[in-house]
Symmetry: C2
Amino acid sequence: MTRAPQKRRLVTRARLLEAAQNLIAEKGHDALRVEDVVAKAGVAKGTFFSHFEDKDRLLSEIIGADMHASLEKMAAQQPATIQKMADAHQPYFDVIAQNRTTVDVTVRYSGAAAIEDLGPITMAFGRHLDVVADWMENMPAGQLRTDLDTAFLAEGIQAFAVQAIALNFCALHSSVEISDRFRAYLEAWLAPSR
Amino acid sequence: MTRAPQKRRLVTRARLLEAAQNLIAEKGHDALRVEDVVAKAGVAKGTFFSHFEDKDRLLSEIIGADMHASLEKMAAQQPATIQKMADAHQPYFDVIAQNRTTVDVTVRYSGAAAIEDLGPITMAFGRHLDVVADWMENMPAGQLRTDLDTAFLAEGIQAFAVQAIALNFCALHSSVEISDRFRAYLEAWLAPSR
DNA sequence: TTACAAAAATGACCACGGTCAATATAAATT
DNA sequence: AATTTATATTGACCGTGGTCATTTTTGTAA
């Protein structure tokens, strides 16, 4: 039986997260250094690693929270068409595709390391599935293919979201074109004309 | 105008690659250390980085070659059904999903860094698109949806391949189940019943 | 209060990827 | 053959992520 953490620990953790967020806001995810974080937070280096198993885990904590926030914005909507579903993903793409680091970390954590401790990014990916499945359940009839359940369709949407982001980074396209590509994929996936 | 490299340089490069391949065969991709590679190859550390911009680039060179080999096996076939298309991907999955490192590197290099110098993994991804597009061009009629061209359908296949691999690592499924999942995706993507 | 055990924090230390001015070797020029 | 120029290699050095035995702090029970 593990005990509840002392409040001191929670304070330290919050300090570390806040320091990291400020540094990211200043210099971007790529330039984040653990030593800078601990210096700003006023703790020792070892403390950092007693709170986060590695640097990527801290990043995943922050990026995961951002993803979650954008997903809640999405969940508050109910797009009526496939096109609008695609468009509603914009805030989500904005978070994931900020830069190479965010893309890398997102992808790495999309497959969870441990089963027990699903990271925040893994959770966010799960939430994404739920959100789009829910959208599809409540969409005006006749637009979606009916041969597959919404959970399966949602998996496909996730695959296309990742693809759109990856291809965007490949050809150095702008963020706008992510959604162009994504829109075409969704149309083809969700409303095939055979 | 850049000159041709001296043969000495080519020899050194080959030595480095061979040393790396042997070490990977012994201990796996994860345990590869640059210092071990240069020791085995009998060169200085700096030499390594004059041949490969970083460690990941060396890995991408080796994994990319493996991917290419498996793709040529695939290209030599002509599956007659969607199911067989999916099954024919097995050697490709075996290369990419060997372990976490191969998956990470593959994904990272799927989006090329520079435009000039497309890495071997990026090239392999491109080859994959060609191979499956070619399969679809030469398949017995009536199986595939006709509303989209094969190049676009190929992009979707790629997206689903990545998704199948990623989900496999997420839930810690076995390699067998990658292709199960992939088969379902392909059927739904290529032959929707609306 | 004091004593004590569990939790938290510390910082010297290590591992390893990556850099770069200096050196050695090969090719080109006289 | 001697000199010069381009190419290839070297290895000491650095930055930064991550470890762990030790010390400090906190909650608790006598």
